[in-house]
Symmetry: C2
Subunit: 360 residues, 2 copies
């Protein structure tokens, strides 16, 4: 009798049925997948890096150890900005990053992280899961052999740390600010000088005056960097990143080698991790804001309405231009803009009206 | 050789290792759990009932069929308001409902669904997962042999359907409105008459004038009921239910019989379902609102600020009284109130400030 036939004969229903403690043990040993997850974050970076760890842990636990995932911080296996290529080529089976890092592949990737004056976290997830967004995202990544999935969101970010007061739009003229991507382009159109540099260099650049301002994330991440020591004003709201989504990347070939139950586990773990990250940021931004304002006496200031209005006009210009890049960008732009227009009407009489009522 | 020893000997590493297509098949047959899920919703009720179906489906798929769950609509196995007891007693292994239905067990249960002028969906999840809320919820349900888990949220609801304009707080005097729970108590203190009746009777009661007003959920669920045919005004925001959480109930004994991987699957499926429901409501409320206003010409009106201010004062009274019921209620009240005060400060400069900026 061949071994395989033998297993099939004893396996199903007869001998093993009921032996509920033994069988999962067999399954664990028999079908182990060893995966690598490369990330765009420093190892264990609060919120983003820890979400990658959590995602890997959930997959391992739910699969009873049948998938084991080793998580790599940026540069440990590949640099942050090579995560997309590494997963695409199968150097790693999974990745964890943010889709606006891959705009070199397609400008349209930016719609799946965040765009200036775009969707909040809750709206973004509504668009992705119930507004056709995720299907478009999959279509965009398909040629690269990648399956994308949302796996977290920072929520509304802060506008950033400034060493100069912003009272009107002209105060942005000549302002040297670290603000990458579309937000940076908006600043340029407002007369500012947008700079990109790694997080690790921001503190000294603010201190030396090489930078007048920088955006980062929000209180939870910003407190750790100590920006309050070298910048005077902490401005809100984060018009340029109203709800930045983190993405999981899955190598399609590796995914197809998984049995169906493990495929579901990987995808549903991303969805649960997505719920986890926004909850973590909402709770911890909060605690960090208390520390910044009470302990470190940080001045938290609102960008004036007039400045926000003008930034919005410029942002619309910049985002609208994305639609002209190629047919796929146009298709995604049309979907997100139509969704935003609807969700804004509903948001005005639900979240927005309620938050106002509660603060009366 | 005993059968069990034999399985262990062949099972691990030697014969089965590598036979990745065979082993999951063994596991499926060997460890099947057949569970029932009783729900507080009509079978397939949009948003709530469909979330229960989704939850069961995810668990079955992720477990490779090792857990099969039959979902029962309200009254199919037990009535809606007996779901808690049914799962507590092991009549069913799981339940799907909303914790404010169980205030007869403890007034404090209401904090885990929603309270007037309480937390939004995003804030609620932040409190539950990262603010100590879920630990308190588990502590509260422990004596009943139940493990609770959040499994969805409707988001901010509407204030309801009215056949009378509300221009000041005195317009609530004598108003006969279907509004159960704490919201109903607030209406009573404002001089109104709060009534509770099942959803199915609301349409005729509004039509006959037996009711002047009713709250339900939001556009997605309300459109289906056809309230627009028998009520003149659709008021916002839903001050009394700013983010109602749906709950999964798990019988603790049944849970403990599961191997660790299946336990994780059940809990993480709830977390993924939690992300799913708020996304669905956000997207579909939106579409339904368009139909209500454009096709059915519904008049959507804001409750005046002065009315909201007074309702907030009364709501605080009513919610504060919950803290006096018993030690556990006090403990939960203190946690949620302290969290709300912090999250409100952060929310003011993030979600709220951003939504305002976008609508400039």
């Amino acid at each position: 009798m061949k071994r395989r036939n033998f297993i099939q004969k004893i396996g199903v229903g007869s001998v093993v049925a009921g032996a509920s403690l033994t069988a999962p043990h067999i399954a664990k040993a028999a079908t182990q997948f060893k995966w690598k997850m490369v990330t765009a974050w420093p190892k264990n970076f609060p919120g983003l890096g820890t979400n990658a760890n959590l995602l890997a842990k959930m997959i391992t636990e739910m699969s009873g150890g049948r998938i084991k995932i080793k998580v790599y911080g940026a540069k440990e296996l590949v640099p942050a900005f090579e995560v997309f290529d590494a997963v695409s080529k199968g150097v790693a089976e999974m990745g964890h990053g943010a889709s606006y890092y891959w705009k070199g592949k397609s400008e349209a990737t930016q719609f799946f992280s965040t765009v200036p004056f775009g969707l909040t976290a809750q709206e973004m997830n509504a668009w992705l899961y119930y507004g056709g967004g995720l299907e478009l995202w999959r279509e965009l990544y398909k040629p690269f052999g990648l399956i994308p999935a949302p796996t977290g969101n920072t929520g509304v970010q802060m506008a950033g740390w400034f060493n100069k007061e912003i009272n009107n739009i002209d105060d942005l003229k000549g302002l040297k600010m670290r603000i990458p991507g579309l937000g940076g382009e908006v600043l340029r159109r407002a007369g500012g000088v947008s700079v990109n540099m790694p997080g690790g260099e921001l503190f000294t650049s603010l201190q030396s005056g090489a930078l007048d301002a920088t955006e980062w994330v929000g209180p939870y991440n910003d407190l750790a960097f100590g920006f309050y020591k070298v910048a005077k004003y902490y401005y809100y709201p984060g018009w340029h990143e109203p709800g930045s989504a983190a993405e999981a990347l899955i190598n399609e070939k590796a995914f197809k080698q998984l049995p169906k139950d493990l495929q579901q586990i990987v995808l549903m773990a991303c969805k649960a991790a997505n719920m986890d990250m926004i909850s973590e940021y909402t709770a911890r931004n909060n605690q960090a804001l208390d520390v910044l304002t009470n302990k470190h006496k940080v001045q938290v200031l609102a960008l004036p309405q007039d400045v926000l209005k003008k930034l919005k006009v410029l942002s619309d210009e910049v985002v609208n231009e994305l639609a002209t890049k190629d047919a796929m960008s146009k298709k995604i732009f049309d979907s997100v803009v139509s969704f935003r227009s609807q969700v804004t009407r509903w948001g005005a009489i639900s979240e927005q009206a309620y938050l106002q009522a509660r603060s009366l």
